[in-house]
């Protein structure tokens, strides 16, 4: 074990300050230190995307990042994307279009999709499939996930137009 490091993170808008071993992975900081259990662990090797979070505007797999590497950065997890009183359109669309089954991949999937729609508010089906290829789902076969993301994109674009 090495000397503990002083780490400061902003998670879902809240500043968190703690001492951690250099080897502490971000996913464990979130899940076990901060009790933010939305992001899950599916593979430990960056393949499945169940642990996806947003760090300073980029989608990141938190299972292969040391917390120390995220020091000083802003992190958003599914818990910061929307809750009972302010559901994100993706959260409603995944329910409406049956974009989930066991739910284990869903937090990472929605977190990634939210970022994707920020990067590209009008993605084609191929762009969604490519943009979501880092997130594995074992239950849905993706068809309804794609549909959910398309529906959310349409809703978000309509809302944006109405606001302008």
């Amino acid at each position: 074990m090495s000397k503990k490091m002083h780490i400061t993170l902003t998670v879902n808008g809240k500043e968190e300050e703690f001492l951690a071993e250099p080897r502490e992975l971000l996913i464990y900081t979130l899940r076990e230190r901060l009790n933010i259990t939305g992001p899950h662990i599916g593979c430990d090797t960056s393949h499945c995307g169940a642990c996806t979070v947003t760090i300073n505007g980029k989608s990141v797999k938190s299972c292969t990042l040391f917390s120390a590497q995220a020091n000083g950065k802003e992190i958003t997890t599914i818990e910061g994307i929307g809750g009972p009183d302010d559901l994100h359109p993706l959260q409603s669309a995944f329910k409406e279009h049956h974009g989930l089954q066991c739910g284990f991949c869903t937090p990472g999937m929605i977190t990634r999709a939210a970022k994707l729609l920020q990067e590209n508010p009008n993605p084609t089906e191929a762009e969604i499939r490519f943009g979501m290829a880092g997130n594995i789902c074992r239950c849905t076969g993706y068809q309804n996930i794609i549909k959910s993301i398309q529906a959310a994109a349409a809703e978000m674009n309509a809302a944006k137009e109405a606001a302008e």
Binding site: H47, I110, G141
Partner: protein
């Protein structure tokens, strides 16, 4: 409390009962990151346990030194077989009548086998401890091939008397586990010997793994003050786990509470009992603290619950016109180091004897030999009923090979051999009685939907273009027609560890007209909380939105055998309907009392009982519910509750017709799935949205298995596919859009006619994808190539057929 809704259609719609694509009640928590999976559980003082695993596939253990590990700060205990032996817990019974080491007892039989269990304050300290446990091994010869195993002098299981019979009868060799037979051997051989046409083929259905996104794990918490053990875990059968834990630990069953929280997919992986569960329980007893054990992905792929690994040889005979006369099948089944298959006791090869498929085959014989090797134990049914995927793959390949032998169209060959609608209930040559089916209608609908003749014409043109050098892409048309056998099962022939495979439902109606129902099954993504409420809504006339469904807590749910083999709807769904009918029967008496008429003078209508011939006189179920708690009705107990334990009279037999159209680049071996059409008949459809979702998912798991997913070993018994880098899970990029369709042929014996659907797409999908690949190469002389058809193997097939010359 008068019901405002008088329109009957509106009243039906308001219930959100059978046939409604009701949105899932589970989704709110999952989409907001508020699911509660086992690794989310955090208890005061909870410890973390993890395994020292064997790097060798076959080795004797000379010594284990735990001293250095115990020096690591945070490490509290290191358990070995020597620690478990005084408790009698160093071995445990498997679901297949064998026994399995919990921790290596003198030797190891597969790579990754559990050798010691390190218990520490957190997972990092446990990992540090694992590094410092010194195990001295003496390597032994490794056997990874079951045919070699049956010839070898190397005895894998030294704990077994080589001459003594096993759980399923006599053994031919120390590494042999069982021989299991179905059908008539001599008549089958005679028909085949004298047949006009015989096709013979050997095929290997490779080893793979269910690989749910959430791995297996548990939290064991022994409350020494009250003598109660609580065990949370990824259990597809929580009640069976409770009974097993009680039997092997000696803790009385009423002092054990097993809870399956949200489960992140199962697909068969979470049916069995694993050493991690036993070690966590022991560690909690030893330390007096809760102990969590969670597999990492490599542990999961290497050690818990492989699927398939069947070497199958078939002979199928027919007349010159293509009428099938007999089928012979031999299987050499690789079970790994222990026989830990998850099958009903009397079926060591599961329901492999459904391998006559959807065809009227008068004579058949099946023989399965189970064999030990130095591979991981398991043999679960990965998204299928017990070994049904193997059976359907076998027959759907044999049909294709027979079509080649007959120089006949494979769709037509199927059509002339289908069991006819009027033959149901149909008694198959290998023993099963198919409940209902209408195969010709389904097949015709499927072929018409894809314009089958047009596809064949296009394919012929493509072959001509390829030969003329105009294209490097071939076109394959994959066909499959499957019949599943699900819903185990009748207690008279299906049990696991002596527990009959019934299932259960208990309902309590609350005074204000809402309800809670608890079942013996457990959802792993199938949406039980949504669909079982729909069954009840239609049965008892209360809206599905007013019914809570609860599963997975053995202290509250009635005993059941759990969720796998598509048994939830056929068995627990039936129990739900039957319990609902008990509620309705009592409600009828209450309604008659309130309406001051005879019981037989009222009848049920959607959400109420009405006086026959006087529809304006009625009592809604909501009113009846309240009356059950506030009226003193002569001859009736207060309250409105019911429980049903349902023993199904037969299995159910869902079926379907699938067509896949694929382009294959012969120079890269990359297949491009152009179209996939899936027609499923699962009997009565409870929630079409959920059915469709199940089909998309099952087809995608079929695509994975057919086109690349495998657990591969090298000659030393090293697992070559231990991470998601090597083990193929398709992403959104590789998966096509599917077209779904249906026919409805209700099960005649199920209370609501439903058959189960979750596994059908996997069962029918694997042969369909495989047949598409093989069909593309049929014009060039291909007869059969083994799965998985990954890019390299497809390229190799093209190469061997001279298509690169």
């Amino acid at each position: 409390m008068k019901d405002e809704i008088d329109n009957r259609d509106e009243r039906v719609a308001n219930l959100k009962g059978l046939g409604c694509s009701r949105k899932r009640v589970e989704d709110a928590r999952f989409t907001q990151g508020k699911g509660n999976y086992v690794d989310d559980i955090k208890l005061d003082g909870m410890l973390f346990g993890d395994f020292v695993r064997s790097p060798y596939a076959h080795a004797r253990i000379k010594s284990i030194d735990t001293a250095a590990a115990m020096e690591v700060p945070g490490v509290l205990a290191v358990l070995t077989a020597a620690d478990l032996e005084p408790l009698g817990l160093h071995w445990m019974p498997t679901l297949a009548g064998d026994k399995q080491m919990v921790l290596a007892d003198g030797k190891v039989l597969f790579q990754g086998q559990e050798v010691a269990f390190v218990v520490a304050e957190d997972r990092f300290a446990a990992a540090d401890g694992i590094e410092l446990v010194e195990v001295e091994y003496e390597e032994l010869p490794v056997i990874v091939d079951p045919f070699e195993s049956l010839k070898s002098d190397v005895v894998l299981r030294e704990d077994l008397d080589p001459k003594a019979p096993g759980a399923h009868g006599p053994r031919k060799h120390p590494n042999h586990i069982f021989t299991w037979e179905a059908g008539d051997k001599a008549p089958t051989e005679e028909v085949i010997a004298n047949a006009e046409v015989v096709a013979t083929e050997s095929m290997y259905y490779h080893r793979t793994h269910p690989c749910p996104l959430e791995t297996c794990g548990c939290v064991a918490s022994m409350d020494k003050v009250n003598g109660k053990l609580t065990l949370w875990g990824t259990f597809q059968a929580p009640h069976a786990i409770r009974t097993v834990v009680s039997l092997i630990s000696g803790i009385e069953e009423h002092n054990i509470r097993v809870i399956s929280p949200d489960i992140g997919g199962g697909f068969g992986n979470k049916v069995g009992a694993y050493p991690g569960y036993v070690c966590s329980v022991v560690a909690s007893i030893v330390t007096g603290k809760p102990v969590k054990w969670i597999e990492d992905r490599m542990d999961n792929l290497m050690t818990t619950a492989f699927a398939r690994d069947y070497h199958m040889t078939g002979k199928i005979s027919a007349t010159k016109e293509g009428k099938i006369t007999a089928l012979h099948c031999h299987v050499t089944a690789d079970h790994g180091g222990f026989d830990a298959c998850a099958d009903p006791t009397k079926f060591p090869a599961g329901f492999m004897n459904i391998c006559t498929g959807s065809y009227d085959i008068p004579t058949a014989y099946l023989e399965v030999d189970g064999v030990y090797t130095n591979k991981a134990p398991g043999g679960v049914s990965y998204r299928c009923s017990f070994r049904v995927t193997e059976a359907v793959y076998f027959i759907e390949r044999m049909i294709e090979v027979l079509a080649i032998e007959l120089n006949m169209d494979a769709a037509e060959l199927r059509r002339i051999n289908f069991i006819k609608k009027e033959q149901f209930p149909y008694k198959a040559a290998l023993g099963w009685e198919y409940d209902s089916g209408d195969y010709h209608t389904a097949w015709d609908k499927a072929l018409k939907a894809v314009d089958y003749d047009g596809l064949r014409a296009e394919q012929a043109q493509r072959v001509a273009d390829f030969k003329a050098g105009k294209t490097r892409k071939l076109m394959g048309i994959g066909l499959s027609f499957f019949t599943e056998i699900v819903g185990a099962g009748p207690v008279k022939n299906c049990d696991i560890l002596g527990l009959g495979m019934f299932d259960s439902c208990e309902i309590r109606i609350h005074p204000t007209g809402s309800a809670i129902a608890r079942l013996g099954t457990i959802s792993q993504g199938q949406g039980h909380a949504t669909t079982f409420a729909q069954i009840l809504a239609s049965e008892i006339g209360l809206p599905a939105d007013s019914i809570t469904i609860e599963e997975g807590d053995t202290d509250t749910a009635p005993y059941g055998l759990g969720t796998y083999g598509s048994r939830s709807t056929p068995v627990a769904g039936a129990a739900t309907a039957m319990a609902g009918r008990k509620i309705r029967a009592k409600a009828q008496m209450i309604a008659a009392y309130l309406l001051e008429v005879h019981d037989n003078d009222v009848e049920f209508d959607v959400d109420r009982f009405v006086v026959k011939g006087a529809p304006e006189r009625f009592k809604t179920m909501k009113e009846i519910a309240f009356a059950a708690y506030n009226q003193a009705i002569p001859g009736l107990e207060p309250g409105l509750e019911a429980v049903s334990y349902y023993d199904p009279p037969n299995m159910t037999y869902p079926f379907g017709a699938y067509v896949c159209v694929m382009d294959i680049d012969v120079d890269t071996g990359v297949p491009d799935i152009r179209r996939f059409y899936a027609l499923d008949d699962c009997g009565t459809r409870i929630n079409p949205m959920i059915i469709e979702g199940q089909i998309h998912g099952g087809l995608t798991e079929a695509l994975a298995v057919a086109l690349g997913q495998e657990i591969a070993y090298d000659d030393m018994g090293n697992v070559k596919t231990g991470t998601l880098m090597d083990f193929f899970l398709p992403t959104a990029w590789e998966v096509p859009n599917y077209e779904t369709d249906f026919t409805v042929t209700p099960s005649p014996h199920h209370p609501i006619g439903a058959k189960g659907v979750g596994e059908s797409p996997h069962v029918g999908g694997v042969p369909c994808f495989s047949n598409a690949v093989q069909d593309a190469f049929r014009p060039f002389g291909n007869r059969h190539t083994n799965m998985p058809h990954d890019h390299w193997r497809i390229w190799r097939t093209a190469n061997e057929l001279g298509l690169h010359d």
